[in-house]
């Protein structure tokens, strides 16, 4: 029941918003629907907490601790983003950057995107997961090109083509997975259900599975922006409206990672080796290193944060690949903290861009004096994302590093080097933006305080004191994922 509600609310909201179009209350309906979605998410979490994993709708929908965890993150961040988006997009219209006519399908597509991600998380079928991932891409392509500038159209085209090609590889991987499963489970939809696949994993043909994983890795890795298939990500994240960058970076990447982790667990259980884990570690580490050095070279604030997302997805992929209880726990926690922190950075960064009418970091100055919420929000956000104590990211990165020292000591220096370079690069940039005198071209904007403050506070709180529920919940997931 709670599961159905969670999936239906955003879909219904998308339909309503498509009918309302640019009507006056579109942004408010969007916020209300997102709050309702979040409440349904909490309800579902409560159900799963009480009764354990559940199967609904003829085994097509499935919620266990892992998928519910990510569904709650998704619904929470989409809620705060909708609050931010209301203020932010209203400002964009006042500044004449966005004509109201263009806003027609913005909110409907936003809700469609959220519902596609939730379907991907809560379906039991590998095939439907693929369809939902593709739907999530398609619904955001037109949002990335929302400003209709030549560069935003270029970014959206790249996003469309590269993710389309990537996800096609994932479909081939899914077909191979089905081929391996069909021999054991017989034909029909049964053979694509996670619950069945995990049950018979030891009986499937290892050759096909290891080949399938390579395709799935490339496919979902493209969606996650892992190096070397990351080229769409910095463009799409920097050219779209800031609320869209926040959800792309904070949520979509997580969902793609979720798909990959599910495949990894299946394939490694079946092969009895660490084949899939090793591939993930390789991709993850490469992403951390390449993106860390790319952050150094950026001049555009959103592009820099986009590269930082690649870095963090790299860390998380690496940790899941490494496996073991500690690393998996750290990776799960890192997914949550990265979502919260990165979206708050895009919120604060978005307002900073509005204040200076420019995405160039060299033009953004004196944020703390101009608007303390934006300035300190950005400052604390960056401090959190680079993993400074007492923020939560420190805890998760520390756990991952500890596990690395234990499990793959020879890789530790590379990981540490990547983290250090990224931290130095980000911190150097944010200092000059937050401090200094207010430049003459800066002008005040109406800021959405709540989402920024809420996210940063949560990250800080988890760093200082982790609630017992969260701790138990993650231990439970790590128990069956490792």
């Amino acid at each position: 029941m709670s599961l159905i509600a969670l999936l239906c609310i955003p879909l219904l909201a998308a339909i309503v918003l498509a009918i309302v179009r640019e009507g006056r209350f579109a942004a408010e309906i969007n916020v209300a629907a997102s709050i309702a979605t979040f409440m349904a998410g909490v309800w579902l979490a409560w159900d799963v907490y009480g009764h354990g994993a559940m199967l609904v709708a003829g085994e097509l929908l499935f919620a266990d601790a892992f998928s519910v965890y990510l569904a709650v993150i998704t619904s929470f961040v989409s809620m705060t983003t909708s609050v931010f988006s209301r203020r932010y997009m209203a400002q964009e219209q006042q500044h004449g950057i966005m004509r109201p006519r263009r806003m027609r399908y913005y909110h409907a597509l936003f809700q469609l995107f959220i519902s596609a991600m939730l379907v991907a998380l809560l379906t039991n079928s590998v095939g439907i997961l693929w369809i939902a991932m593709e739907m999530a891409t398609l619904s955001t392509v037109l949002l990335v090109s929302h400003y209709r500038t030549p560069s935003s159209i270029e970014a959206a085209w790249k996003y469309f083509i590269l993710c389309g090609v990537g996800i096609a590889q994932a479909l081939f991987g899914t077909i191979l997975l089905y081929l391996a499963a069909e021999k054991v489970l017989g034909e029909g939809g049964e053979a694509l259900l996670w619950t069945n696949l995990n049950r018979v994993s030891s009986m499937m043909e290892p050759n096909i599975l290891s080949m399938a994983f390579v395709f799935l890795m490339v496919g979902y890795g493209t969606k996650m922006g892992l190096v070397p298939v990351h080229h769409w990500l910095p463009d799409a994240h920097s050219e779209g409206p800031s609320p869209i960058s926040a959800v792309l970076s904070g949520l979509l990447l997580n969902v793609a990672l979720y798909a990959l982790v599910r495949c990894k667990v299946l394939v490694d259980a079946s092969l009895g080796t660490h084949h899939a884990g090793n591939i993930m570690m390789g991709f993850g580490l490469l992403s951390v290193l390449v993106s860390a050095f790319s952050i150094l070279r950026q001049k555009d604030i959103k592009r820099m944060f986009a590269y930082s997302s690649i870095e963090h997805m790299g860390i998380t992929t690496f940790a899941f690949g490494l496996g073991g209880a500690t690393a998996t726990f750290g990776a799960l926690l890192h997914m949550l903290l990265h979502s919260l922190t990165k979206s708050s950075l895009f919120f604060a960064g978005g307002h900073a861009i509005q204040m200076h009418q420019s995405q160039e970091m060299s033009r953004i100055r004196g944020l703390i004096r101009g608007n303390p919420f934006v300035g300190w929000g950005l400052m604390f956000g960056v401090m959190a994302i680079v993993g400074m104590p007492p923020f939560g990211v420190f805890v998760s990165e520390f756990l991952i590093l500890t596990a690395t020292v234990k499990g793959a000591p020879y890789l530790t220096p590379f990981l540490v080097a990547g983290l250090a370079v990224a931290a130095a690069a980000l911190f150097r940039r944010v200092q000059s933006m937050a401090m200094a005198e207010v430049p003459s071209y800066q002008h005040p904007v109406q800021v959405a305080y709540v989402p920024i403050v809420l996210h940063v506070t949560l990250v800080l709180m988890i760093g200082i004191y982790m609630p017992d529920v969260l701790n138990q919940w993650l231990k439970n997931i790590a128990g069956y994922l490792k």
Partner: protein, 229 residues
């Protein structure tokens, strides 16, 4: 006896699909390209129906009809209309190094055969006397046509051509699904078809956006966003 005959026809169709993939790789004219794409869709549709007949799975007839409607009628129609509205239907694209592209294509086919060789057996045979309906080489052909579509996307510079390459890739995937597993579950196939339909709508919108912003559909011009230095 007739099963044997159908089996041969199946192999022929696979060969034709590969042939059209190669044809698209070097076809310069826009209208000729869409024409080849239509043929590939038709071969695919017939192949799906034949496999459905051979293994007696009725949902394959539905997906065959779906392919016919989507890839033989609707998508070529949309593409033709777009190309005419954008006034590029007579355009002749320059492709450099046709022999090299062909050689790379052949190398990709060999690679595909090599990749699927470790797979020991495919879908279960219908009876003991009868050979596999689906041979390893058909899966290799499917993988090869996916890779040829990818190669086409890389070598071409026109947005419409890239999209046709993308759709040809999708054809290859669909071919893989029918031949390797007798088709994915119906629900999944319907979902994939829906996704393609939405993608068609989106690229249609994009052609106009690119055209009005850059005055042509040459994606070479989409190179503003790069690493700043």
């Amino acid at each position: 006896m007739y099963i044997d005959f159908v089996h041969h026809i199946n192999s022929f169709l696979a060969a034709f699909i590969l042939l059209t993939a190669f044809g698209m790789l070097v076809q310069r004219r826009m209208s000729g390209l869409i024409f080849l794409f239509t043929w590939q869709g038709l071969f695919l549709s017939i192949h799906t129906a034949l496999v459905g007949f051979l293994v007696n799975r009725h949902h394959l007839y539905i997906s065959s009809a779906l392919t016919l409607a989507l890839k033989v009628i609707l998508l070529p129609y949309i593409l033709h209309t777009l190309v005419r509205r954008l006034k590029i239907h007579k355009e002749v694209e320059t492709i450099f190094n046709v022999p090299t592209i062909m050689l790379i294509g052949i190398a990709l086919v060999i690679l595909a055969y090599h990749l699927v060789s470790p797979i020991r057996e495919l879908s279960p045979p219908l009876s003991l006397v009868q050979p596999h309906i689906v041979t390893r080489s058909i899966l290799a052909v499917a993988l090869a046509s996916v890779m040829l579509g990818l190669l086409m996307m890389i070598t071409r510079k026109n947005a419409v051509t890239q999209i046709i390459g993308f759709l040809a890739m999708e054809n290859g995937l669909f071919f893989a699904a029918t031949s390797a597993t007798y088709g994915m579950p119906l629900l999944v196939e319907l979902g994939v078809a829906l996704d393609i339909l939405i993608a068609a709508f989106i690229f249609g919108v994009f052609f106009f956006h690119i055209h009005s912003n850059f005055d042509s559909l040459d994606v070479e011009q989409l190179a503003r966003l790069k690493e700043v230095d």
